[in-house]
Symmetry: D2
Subunit: 424 residues, 4 copies
Amino acid sequence: MIKSDIIAQANDAANAKLKADYDALGEALDRRGIDIAAIKSKVAKYGVAVPSWGVGTGGTRFARFPGTGEPRDIFDKLDDCGVIHQLTRATPSVSLHFPWDAQPAADLNSKAEEVGLTFDAMNSNTFQDQENQQYSYKFGSLSHTDAATRQQAIDHNIACIALGREIGSKALTIWVGDGSNFPGQTNFTRQFERYLEATRQVYNALPEDWTLLTEHKMYEPAFYSTVVQDWGTNLLIAQQMGDKAKCLVDLGHHAPNVNIEMIVARLTQFGKLGGFHFNDSKYGDDDLDTGSIDPYRLFLVFNELVEAENNPDFNPMHMLDQSHNVTDPIESLMVSATEVQRAYAQALLVDRTVLEGFQESNDALMATTTLKHGFRTDVEPILAMARLEAGGAIDPVAAYRASNYRAQVSAIRPQVSGAGGGIV
Amino acid sequence: MIKSDIIAQANDAANAKLKADYDALGEALDRRGIDIAAIKSKVAKYGVAVPSWGVGTGGTRFARFPGTGEPRDIFDKLDDCGVIHQLTRATPSVSLHFPWDAQPAADLNSKAEEVGLTFDAMNSNTFQDQENQQYSYKFGSLSHTDAATRQQAIDHNIACIALGREIGSKALTIWVGDGSNFPGQTNFTRQFERYLEATRQVYNALPEDWTLLTEHKMYEPAFYSTVVQDWGTNLLIAQQMGDKAKCLVDLGHHAPNVNIEMIVARLTQFGKLGGFHFNDSKYGDDDLDTGSIDPYRLFLVFNELVEAENNPDFNPMHMLDQSHNVTDPIESLMVSATEVQRAYAQALLVDRTVLEGFQESNDALMATTTLKHGFRTDVEPILAMARLEAGGAIDPVAAYRASNYRAQVSAIRPQVSGAGGGIV
Amino acid sequence: MIKSDIIAQANDAANAKLKADYDALGEALDRRGIDIAAIKSKVAKYGVAVPSWGVGTGGTRFARFPGTGEPRDIFDKLDDCGVIHQLTRATPSVSLHFPWDAQPAADLNSKAEEVGLTFDAMNSNTFQDQENQQYSYKFGSLSHTDAATRQQAIDHNIACIALGREIGSKALTIWVGDGSNFPGQTNFTRQFERYLEATRQVYNALPEDWTLLTEHKMYEPAFYSTVVQDWGTNLLIAQQMGDKAKCLVDLGHHAPNVNIEMIVARLTQFGKLGGFHFNDSKYGDDDLDTGSIDPYRLFLVFNELVEAENNPDFNPMHMLDQSHNVTDPIESLMVSATEVQRAYAQALLVDRTVLEGFQESNDALMATTTLKHGFRTDVEPILAMARLEAGGAIDPVAAYRASNYRAQVSAIRPQVSGAGGGIV
Amino acid sequence: MIKSDIIAQANDAANAKLKADYDALGEALDRRGIDIAAIKSKVAKYGVAVPSWGVGTGGTRFARFPGTGEPRDIFDKLDDCGVIHQLTRATPSVSLHFPWDAQPAADLNSKAEEVGLTFDAMNSNTFQDQENQQYSYKFGSLSHTDAATRQQAIDHNIACIALGREIGSKALTIWVGDGSNFPGQTNFTRQFERYLEATRQVYNALPEDWTLLTEHKMYEPAFYSTVVQDWGTNLLIAQQMGDKAKCLVDLGHHAPNVNIEMIVARLTQFGKLGGFHFNDSKYGDDDLDTGSIDPYRLFLVFNELVEAENNPDFNPMHMLDQSHNVTDPIESLMVSATEVQRAYAQALLVDRTVLEGFQESNDALMATTTLKHGFRTDVEPILAMARLEAGGAIDPVAAYRASNYRAQVSAIRPQVSGAGGGIV
């Protein structure tokens, strides 16, 4: 954690400007009939989970270029996550990944308490082979042709649930890379039947108050077909499983040009939107920082979420899921959490009664102008004030850099080699 | 129709070569343990419907360059369709489009009998405004915000059913362009609710033995969102409507890179594959000739269809849906019907027991090689012999050109102006 | 034109709020060390040309749904363009399209003067056949296999130059739809050789102070190959022709996911960026309103343009090129011109010295944050104040609606039929 | 190497069928006026290089699932490459990758001679950091902002040339991953200036008879921009460098839907096509087996190459570049080399005089039918007979499996761990 006087010092330097900006925005919003305090209050309550693996430097199949002071284990990772939440007040929980983060529940709970975090959804891993694993996932996991391999994957997911129960998690997220690289390699129908049968075993092991989140992805690591390739198949899974099963939408997992906000709307309409993995992308599953490539798309997703907020049953889970290859992961996650809040705040500014009127009368130009009015408002003072009031930093990156946190942990955590992997 | 002696003459010239090629292929297939006659017999029974509008020259929003002898009405169109079937023996039915083809049922039936054709699915049109139409579809049809406009679209579809009953059709295909061009122009959820409610009225008007086919499309004419944008939404429609409702897959209506054969498999698995619009495309809904751009993809679709053939309930409808901008439409439709049969014949050659074995043992290389073995076999002699034996032409294009059919109808049908439309 | 008291009245109602917003923004920018007046001054000088065809309602190959009061000819169109500039003060020139707008130069000049406009680049049309045209462009124009057809296209372009000289234009924009719909239909190399040879004839006819702008486009109306398919081929053309030849970039003419701002940078670096057609798109060449789908991409393009502004030789032409299918074209063009100015103003806010420092030290996070800081600033008060000071409207759409201009011209201009074209 | 009696035994079993198939095809081609022996002779002379790294199992950023008997070093790799050529007679050379394959030239030459191979283009590696490397490539190599890092990359490339000269290579292939992950991270223009300047140093070090091949790629490992992102930029590089510089086309490095065969034609026309990396892909740079996803596209590329063959200066280099994640790499490379030959043979079958006639008269349908006629001919007997006559295997995969080569090397080469890398 960062010493509170460092944060205070950074805030002191920025406080006057923030106050002026916030007041000016408050008056401008007031001229539009919007109460800035109400928006700020909603933003303050809004949090997004951080993935434990996100605080390590990511890479590609070509290379990974590690940073300094990389976390050695889940406890280091929780330290880093704690800093992110300390400064942003926007990331109150962490999503764990098994077996990478497998540790005794008591130790996890104790560390989480220490750094002021709780645990979000559990993530299982059947897309890699672990040391001493009996069956390989080279040709699939939950949908493998071999029953014993499927059982091993089922057991692993059930073990994730067991561990999750001990640390207060309420959801299991399943993402599998199962698919094929060649036409004909797999029989699409039988593969999906096997997937459904295996996932049913996991579903049956869910506690009553848990949610099963399944995640679709167009491609990668499989390059011809993927068993849960899009929201259509994901919907079928959730329908086949039952009420506790819902769909998770990762913003980077779709075909080019796809209208993602519409998928969000459809899943919401049919009660099957379970949660998000936020990130941004230009080409494939690039896992770039949320909002860094197409911030308007992120806003349009949040426009759907705010639209659905009135429904009391609507409560999707929110998580960042990014790969930080060229930035300090802590910085990227702080900025990304802020971007999520920014899109949320902008969507809250949209006058929905006015919008509905334009939609009803097919006034396309004024309808879209109404949305844009929300988007183009610079809500940074709201986000910063919410952070400040909650004990965070006006400018998280500046405070973080001032703290020298990275240098401090680098002194403790040994440098990892940058040698390439030879996967091309 | 083309005089039979012209066809006979053309066939006589090509017969010896065909016989030699067919015999050689028969022996080659025999060396692979395949009975050529059995394949030929299946191919001979396989037909694909021709769209009535397909025999006119198509165009783009920029221009249409008419050919000579363009059909003036549905009766001219049926003449052209008759020629296509006469020469290919592969297109026994025609799919009508209302109101373009609206004529007294008796006249349609009489003409169809004259040219030896039957009627396939009816196609409604609520994506254009017709002269004297009360409400405009500019902002939608079945999903319009205005109830009277929706009702007009519902009534039109029910009228299509009424006409279809009189001419022996058993299916209604609904494709709507409803959507939006701007974020915010429409509320996704309410728009889809209206669509479902309106389509329910049409569904309720279906005779017991009819099928409702709904068609998804990613974009065009709407360029931000489309109400039935993909197979996920299409599936929801079919689920909401009931057993008579199924999904129609147009090969050109998907996002870039999407694995279409997998969508075919999923819809088949859940009993919701209703039919196809065959064509090919490189960029968007290009409506190019079937198999002209990616013949292997067409083969992979047929691989799924042959896979599903054992299921007695599996009986999707097949139609060509193309825009012939630079070719004689009769020639393109003849070649395209042949390409559909080619893919079917190639898929029939795949040894499915062997394939299943490789799939089961995850021998990806041999599995895909097994598929490719079917694909790379030149089955043209089978197709040509099936045509010849059914009274068609060994080489339909050659026979058609020899017949001078186009010149003959051009003498009767006046030349259409090529002036551009000014839509850019 | 709209009566000035109507504009004044509308401005009066909005003036107090604008003043407050502008002052607040001025203070906020001052806190960032930016002089709002300097930005406003640059914005005030920034104009974008309107395409004459843009004021008519557009359509798709499926249908066109006309609006009311559609312009009957170029003089009506100039009236509409005059209104756009009157209210936005951002569109001082009009780009004509031949032969659609072919009228005596004196009449064009006189009308332009009346409505306060000048003429931008000339646009030739060899993608449609005109009544009484000798050779058809069905199979190409400048690259046609037939020399006489090529000559006809050359002559048409030279005629465009002749007309342009009389009305003060300084550039010819060539866009051709030449290409193919089938593999093998054309020989890529010979087709391009013919294109280069024909374009050379046009180039040779250019006055000394003119620019030849060639436009690339991935596809449509040709659906397999297009002779000027991308910026690589476009660059080759400009290189082959000479110094007066430059490349025109239409934002909607690229493959999915392509980084357009990088193409802008490359063409700029090698002195070959000639101009822009601004619009927005989600799928193909959707020709949606500029900035309506991905405003950040538009900003990133302007970031390159502002980056290049210091180069005295850098002077690309700017034009809107959109299809307004569901909105009043005047409204869409006004909003789009504003969006172009908005992106320009946001790009001006970026501190380039700071940005360069982060780039030099590979501080990716702070570099992108620096860009985003410009983008997320709501510069609307700057744009509105610039308009107001130049005699335009604070809120152009509101003033336009208050003026009843559309109803007034509708009384004069007869309603166009909405019947569909039958091109599917 | 595989014992010759094993190959002989496998060939004996397949010989009678091959002879019958070859004779039947010969007669069928004779009926089309084509001399099968002439085609076979051209195919026999056609070879494609194998990448040394291709014989190891590939992976993704998520995981690598090693096979058994993976090569430990370049000498093992050359053994595997020797087997591929032994059985296919289609892969006479190997392309090395430095520093992965760095060994004394004498040892490399000696081993190459032992296994009957020569060395193709050298490949440098500045997309990974090697142990003990002074400067990191995390933020770029040849285009890095830091001059010392650029120099290190230059020196590495020059070292590659030095090594290449000793082993008979005549080309250096440069592929860099330099780019950016965030808008603003890099200045496009300055980055490309640095790239050009650094590459100039490498170019200047080239022996007279060498070729510099630069390779473009749309994205990955950089996810917002890549310095050599497409053929337009690649062309600029080749133009700036000089006559010895040419462009390398990797089939998987383009934007979705791009017409790659047209890029091949353009680069050929302007003398800048230097070579190929063959593979296939459905989504991104999937590096799947050549011809496995879209064999017609591969054929269309070869159609251009055969078209250009008459030009005596036309002599591009050919290499496979694939990632074998789920197959035995030796098997995939053998099948892929065969697919390259298949596309070549099919393209040779096209009657170019006839094709030209149809192109000249704009008979699109017959032009594309002419191409397809070549494509749909099953040329497998030609390929197999060419292999057999050259001492290879009729069915390379069958012979390879019969040889037990993999099991034999697995006994010598230790099993590699399958533990995942933790890069997500």
